[in-house]
């Protein structure tokens, strides 16, 4: 195999998760986020702090780019040079996209971040050596590094505040990388409950913390290989396919009328989060 052939036919050689024909059976966790419903209110982000033991880094830490918000709301303005943003702003909830072919995974020297059979990009804290290569290689910049030992840092979790920590979620120490887990602790509980009842998780059995809080119900979360799940139906209706780096519908002349898209799809990380485009009234 020549290098030329490798480069030209890269998609054939490329390693996919998973490698066999049955993609993620019985679970493949995925999301869809409706940007026309999302108001940019930040409730999801705060809910994530509460659920996942995220440290507050303070003004200094934030200034140094050390914020730990697994879920952040990006705000964009129109770029057409008008004096006033008369079509409002654009908000985008951004967190780990749980890529199927995650760029962060391939660069980890110790395999601390890898793919679960459920299709989630996981982070093994006690294997992580803090090289931060994963963060450098993540196209979405959603990995967060523990520059300090937050549990012992002043005013992060002072007495009483520490009682709020979620016992289902590890409190991370200095020198490890962390990121959105799709609330894996909730998924695990739901999986065990379902297993005890001898069944699979039904749609709605498990909600992520951000989804549960979101006042506009902009976030849907579920099992992409369950035809009964809302995310499955949404992805299907929007004709967004997980294992494509360009969707067929986008090749239509004049562009698609469907709102579903994935960010940086063309980079081939095969993200598990589909966004639905924001809509703006044409009549005004």
């Amino acid at each position: 195999m020549s290098v030329t052939s490798l480069l030209e036919n890269y998609s054939e050689f490329r390693h996919f998760h998973p490698v066999d024909d049955v993609p993620h059976n019985p679970y493949k966790w995925a999301m869809s986020i409706d940007l026309d419903a999302c108001s940019g209110c930040n409730a999801c982000s705060v809910a994530c702090y509460a659920e996942n033991n995220l440290p507050v880094v303070g003004r200094e830490g934030f200034a140094h780019g050390q914020a730990m918000h697994w879920m952040r709301i990006e705000r964009y303005w129109d770029e057409d040079g008008r004096e006033f943003p008369d079509q409002g702003a654009q908000f985008l909830p951004m967190m780990c996209q749980q890529c199927e072919a995650a760029p962060c995974e391939t660069v980890c020297p110790v395999g601390a971040t890898n793919h679960t059979p459920d299709g989630i990009n996981s982070q093994i804290y006690n294997r992580c050596i803090g090289s931060r290569y994963c963060s450098a290689n993540c196209p979405y910049k959603v990995r967060y590094f523990n520059w300090y030992d937050y549990p012992t840092t002043d005013n992060v979790w002072p007495a009483e505040m520490n009682q709020q920590l979620n016992p289902d979620v590890t409190v991370r120490g200095k020198g490890v990388m962390e990121k959105c887990t799709f609330c894996i602790q909730r998924v695990t509980v739901a999986k065990n409950n379902a297993k005890n009842e001898g069944r699979l998780i039904h749609d709605g059995d498990v909600q992520t913390a951000c989804q549960q809080a979101c006042p506009t119900s902009a976030i849907s979360f579920g099992n992409l290989v369950d035809p009964e799940s809302k995310v499955y139906k949404q992805w299907k209706a929007q004709q967004v396919e997980l294992d494509k780096d360009a969707q067929i519908k986008d090749k239509e002349e004049g562009g698609s009328e469907l709102r579903g898209y994935r960010i940086f799809e063309e980079l081939r990380p095969y993200p598990s989060v589909m966004y639905l485009e924001r809509v703006r009234e044409s009549a005004v």
């Binding site: 702090y49 809080a213 009328e257």
Partner: protein, 770 residues
Amino acid sequence: MNSGSIKQLKKPLAIRLGEQTVLAKSLVMAEHPFDRRDFLKVLGWGGAAVALSGCGNGSVEDGKETVVSYVETNDYMIPSISVYFNSTCTQCDAGCSITGRIREGRVLKLEGNPDSTINRGKTCGLGQAGVQHHYNPDRVREPLLRTGDSGEAITWEKAYALIAEKMKDVSGEEIAFLSGGVSGHLKVLLGNYLDSFRSKNHFVYEAIAPAVMRAANKKSYGVEMPRFNISKAKVVLSFGADFLGAWVSPVHFSQQYAQFRKGDEDGQRGVLVQIESKMTLTGANADRWLVVRPGTEGILALGIINALGAAGLRLSGDVAGAVKGYDKARVSKDTGVSAEQIDKIVALLKARTPSLVLAGSAAEGYAHGSQNAAAINLLNQVLGNVGKTVEAAEVVPFPQMAPTTGNTAALKKLNDGLAAGKYKVLFSYAANPVFTAPGAMKFKDNLAKAGFKVVFAHYLDETALQADLVLPLDSALEDWGTQVPEYLATCAQINIQQPLMEKLHANTDGKGTRGMGDILLTLLKQRRAEEYKGFADYYAYLRGALLKNKVALGGHKVDDDTFWNETLSKGIIKLEGHVSALSSRSGTAGLSLPSPAAIDAQYPLQLIPSVNASLRDGRHTNQPWLQESPDPLTTIVWDSWVEIHPRKAAELGIEEGDIVEVTGKNGSVKVQAYLFPGIHPDAISIPLGRGHEALGRYAKGYGVNPFQILDAVFDKETGELALHETRVKVSKTGSRVIVVKDEGPVGGRQMGKKIAARLPSDKVKLSEEI
């Protein structure tokens, strides 16, 4: 994390509750020698119009399995298994119902309770941070008495004795009780306590309340707070009402908004037009955001009515008369909104019905705020929205428990009384006027003239620091209560607040925190021992009160214990309330709007103090998640900023990060500049809520407090503080900082990538979506 440091509860919740259940059972009516009417008043059911049956109250079995009543035995306390208790969020007054997740006796997380028609299982970020109010390291833990310049911790016994002594010879006029908005049984007890002195001096103050809108609604619709059906509207025209942010009932409106966008009924997506001088979160979500010259919103509303008339809408004689002078050319000149834009709005309003017009900061902000609000409400009437998207809300049938809403007019009255040295004893609860009163009122100086100042406090805030006696309160997650929300979504309802865990700072050595209800009950016993002696504590009182009215509360078929357990397990009592039809008097009488004010040469800019959904009036600023939660529009954290339009900034030579001095007639603040396109160039905006000199480690010393430089200008009709009427000038100080914010170095640009994408509405078929 050293898990050993996590405090294990010595006593599970239910044991303590077992004791209380016993206490409650010993409550026998016959012990009370006074008559039934008095008794009803004691319990808060006084003045009830009718006994009503419940609406939507099933049995406990209908509820979630995981929702267990607080009074069950402690069998359910299985290590590592969470249990869930229902309660009510008190982070703002919207009255969302919450479910607390509790494990090993600790409350870990709050979720929305899906059974509430207000929030339907959802919460806002502020609500999420409720646990940080409870676990806050800066809570006051013992009663504090000031002696000269120093304070000492005292016991509750001593504190109560001191109050009894101070209250001995005062008359009703010499007492002042300041509080935030109150409802439910707390309001009943508070009222009864003041009654026992024949005092009418209950001052209900909220620093940022929609008080002008309430008054205007009362005039136009006959009620202060009708129901706004955003989801039914095809067009929402909002004059600065930030209903997705901090306005009235944001979680409820956010859900309605999502339905409105999807066009739930017919697949036609609702259109949002937001008209304001400074972009709010709602404005950022608008299809069309129109910047208007500050204060001219009413003129624009009348201009739209005029244009609707010209476009063929039939106007009644008085309306046509009222809007006669407001032709497009003049309106456009006054407001800065182009004639073409007015035409577009008119066409939209005509083509898509029903619409809904909302009056927000336009009403609250100006000396002619009432007139603005009246003009905006008139637009609703002209469009025929009253009865469609503006509907009568249900009213809780127990007036004694109905919410008393606050305003700044009350503060002004109190302030005048204080200045005149009228009060010997002052109580303050759920308000922090030393922080929130406009600087021009000199509230702090006047407060010093009160004889004895008792402040009920969670933190040592700016007001508590001025107190003679500080009484530490239980957190909202430790306390009992009932609450009636001002804005009711569908059913009338009473919300139940119950402890989600043991007190963190228990009453050891006679110190520790107490619940506000318990304190009031003790104070009432000092006055009317006979009437209240049957109630060992507030829990017993509440239980007694609710059981007394069991039938009207939907419990006619069940015994007392079942009813009580069901009530606690649901966390909501749904009622059949009254609905009285809205009146639709078109309010043209006395409608007169001033022409836009000329620009003041000395203070050329209008200061808009903005209300952030998380920080609001600043009472929760010591919750670090809120400090670190970026402002949605600027993405700034942990600090204040002043928003300046890029054009104005260029004129003044100001760049992002310049520390500028904002000076008005009543002082100045120095704050970092942020160039913001969503603001009128003749206005600048500083968010409220930061700039604390006290409160706690996460609040003190971060940012500036614009309340301190506000001029004391009031709405002419209601006497409300006109928040946007302060004129200022801006000058550079020469120093610079790097603004600490979440957005990257390229600001809000996507650099040609498809990141946050957008489609025009004529391209999508929402009705075919899932």
